[in-house]
Symmetry: C2
Subunit: 256 residues, 2 copies
Amino acid sequence: MYNPLLRKLSRAIDLTAEDEKLLNEVIGVQRGVEARQDIIQEGDRPEEVHLIVQGFACRYKLLPNGERQIVAILIPGDFCDLHVAILGEMDHGIATLSRCKVVHIPRKTIDELTRNHPRITHALWWATLVDEGILREWITNLGRKPAERHIASLMCELYLRLKSIGLVSDHTFELPMTQQEVADAVGISIVHANRMLAELRERGLVAFQGRRVRITDIDELVAFAGFNQNYLHLTRRNNPENGQRIVHDQGREQGT
Amino acid sequence: MYNPLLRKLSRAIDLTAEDEKLLNEVIGVQRGVEARQDIIQEGDRPEEVHLIVQGFACRYKLLPNGERQIVAILIPGDFCDLHVAILGEMDHGIATLSRCKVVHIPRKTIDELTRNHPRITHALWWATLVDEGILREWITNLGRKPAERHIASLMCELYLRLKSIGLVSDHTFELPMTQQEVADAVGISIVHANRMLAELRERGLVAFQGRRVRITDIDELVAFAGFNQNYLHLTRRNNPENGQRIVHDQGREQGT
DNA sequence: CGAACGATTGAGTAAAGTCAATACCTGTGG
DNA sequence: CCACAGGTATTGACTTTACTCAATCGTTCG
């Protein structure tokens, strides 16, 4: 069975066969959620941990005037609310972008894993720290990049994150976001989003085919975006040589 | 001895006397660092965990063109790099804003604490999750607030965070940031920062006296900023009534 | 076919940036 | 005590980026 969590974690951390077995058992009943539905709302106190197994979702915050800011894009293998019970209330909402499959994991399962399985604990910390790194990169992009380079950076990030879980094939990945949603993620108006996406298309950096994105030359897009992938921490830490440039792995791209 | 870490954590999590004792022992030798010095640079692999005990610091990222984005402001009680060893390389730098006192904690001390002391582990997770919440709020402010309201929000955040560790007295707190540094945090030019700060001053919302900030009426500033403090999670989670509005505690403000 | 939603385009406005000059403030050497 | 240097803050004038309003176009689906 395709286990995006295992795939994500095992790429970064050495796990034993037993760890992998446990991480497979975590994926039990998958619940389907329609596109554009809230999985969790601001103010909720979730009693279970939610894991995205299929589809795209986003974290978002609403402002008093009704505007929305998307603060993270969640892809298969991402937790919605790992350990959030510690905080009590959600300070943001999570909504699906596409139809999704979500696993509900009892909090005690997570507690048990982190109490007795140090490598899994390590891996979950790794995932948390990477998520933090992504947030910092988004801040930098919002604060210091013009919209077209910001969108280009977002495409680079999604390309690499999706690739790391086997969801890029033939330089192409699903991206079920409307232009309004891209605008909400990049902090610009929908009109401006439309024009900047058009610019990327005209420059031949990104091709949008319906709900799919094709990036012919990732290195060119990276250069245009001023993108540095270090914050994704996709390379093993005991291998200091790589990590400076885009990691092109030679294996098959498509997951099963 | 003033222990900002203990003060921060004990406000949010119930700790035993033994936990408090351990958290006091963590504060050993304090090393002084001059203002505007790097504590950690991007690419470093810190072997110890750094904790700010006194002064102000910031996380920042540099762009290819030399621009800088400040992605977090660190105050006493904040960790620079808790658990970052898991990631290997720092994906951002940390620099002092003022003269600071920093404690270097051996990684094994942290490992020992988290292995054997569940409430402390819980408290460190809490701090990590709050830091994440702050990053999401910054994203929202950058993406969706005009500069003057963004700066106002930043002042609200600093006011509450500093107050929670006893560093606000008489509605006033230290803020050793230049306008360039404010601009780098808010993602605007220094000229614009100057004008927006002037606007806040003229509106009577914030008074800047040298390196000190006085906020006469926090509720008014909150209203102007469209600020919602929920992301700081300053109230105990088993007390659902409060948390909706600014928490004015009645105790003394000044720490010792 | 037409409604509904999403994408696109044009035109005018507002927010924020750049460039450049000037003012202020603080510490040092004379 | 004062002049000066260097950093910081302020202001004006102009440009660029992005926003708003408004209309049009395209696609999908009942």
